[in-house]
Symmetry: none
Amino acid sequence: MKPLTDSIEAFIKSLLDEGQAQVDVQRNELAQYFRCAPSQITYVLSTRFTPDHGYVIESRRGGGGYIRIVRLRESRGSNLLYLINQRIGDTISLKDCEAIISQLCENGVITENEARLMRAAVSADAINLPVAFKDALRAGVLRAMLLQIASRVEEEDA
Amino acid sequence: MKPLTDSIEAFIKSLLDEGQAQVDVQRNELAQYFRCAPSQITYVLSTRFTPDHGYVIESRRGGGGYIRIVRLRESRGSNLLYLINQRIGDTISLKDCEAIISQLCENGVITENEARLMRAAVSADAINLPVAFKDALRAGVLRAMLLQIASRVEEEDA
DNA sequence: ATACTATGAATATCAAAGATGGTCAAATGG
DNA sequence: CCATTTGACCATCTTTGATATTCATAGTAT
């Protein structure tokens, strides 16, 4: 008996294979379709659709709520997925951050203004914590921003 | 099923997009149009048209009553300084951050992509700390980014 | 005329109900 | 032991309805 997890995973991926970079699903609806507990859906998403696997999840509760599964784009030139999953660990220094941000800017992945914003967000001023925690916090902030960049739809560019 | 709130919000914004800085509506009339309880209108206004979002509401009860939605168009510099020096204190909630970021985007101070980056930087995921500290850290990160934006104002003003 | 009152026409408030998704630990199964 | 599956409980967002408040106007008493 193949576990449900695999079917649910395959089903979601089939939705994404229709060319879209993202799909919205309703947790309860999906759960009903597969006759399983709603938390099963959460389980599949949290084990098979992580940034590690090249996806991010956003969701909204309440009436009209949804879960959005976004496929991260393969970065051209700059290896965003590598940066997110390997390069940044639990902590990262300010210097390393700046190197990464500058590189993204030079490769045209982000604009000069976006680079400035990112530098500000990871700066020592922004992160007002004991030194021991700064690098950990910085890792989280940088990763979140890189995930955002990786989920941008491929289009305009500057 | 998209929630009514979103449609009502969009409708009001479309009214404002016709060049006017303000628009008067009648709560009951709007509610009838959307086939919802009048208090639904109040709900939308109080959650999506706050001063942080860049709007103020005035209203009058009784015969000939109305609700006036005024869009604030601040000069960029002064609004930024207000946000940096007054609005953001030692702590700020995620919701308030998001309102402020949306407002900057709607007023053309930042691009859509920059807004996304900023939201990512202050998101719950980015700031991996005990709840008690999140809001304090967030204030630092947002302030640092706003300072960065303020420092570019001179150059590209139209 | 002036002041007061009654009435109807709006909006405000607030709590409850409804509609989602999230979390976590326990049960289950290979 | 590890991955899956479930269920009870929680958090958040939307929608509604009952009740309170405010305002304009018409009517009434003096």
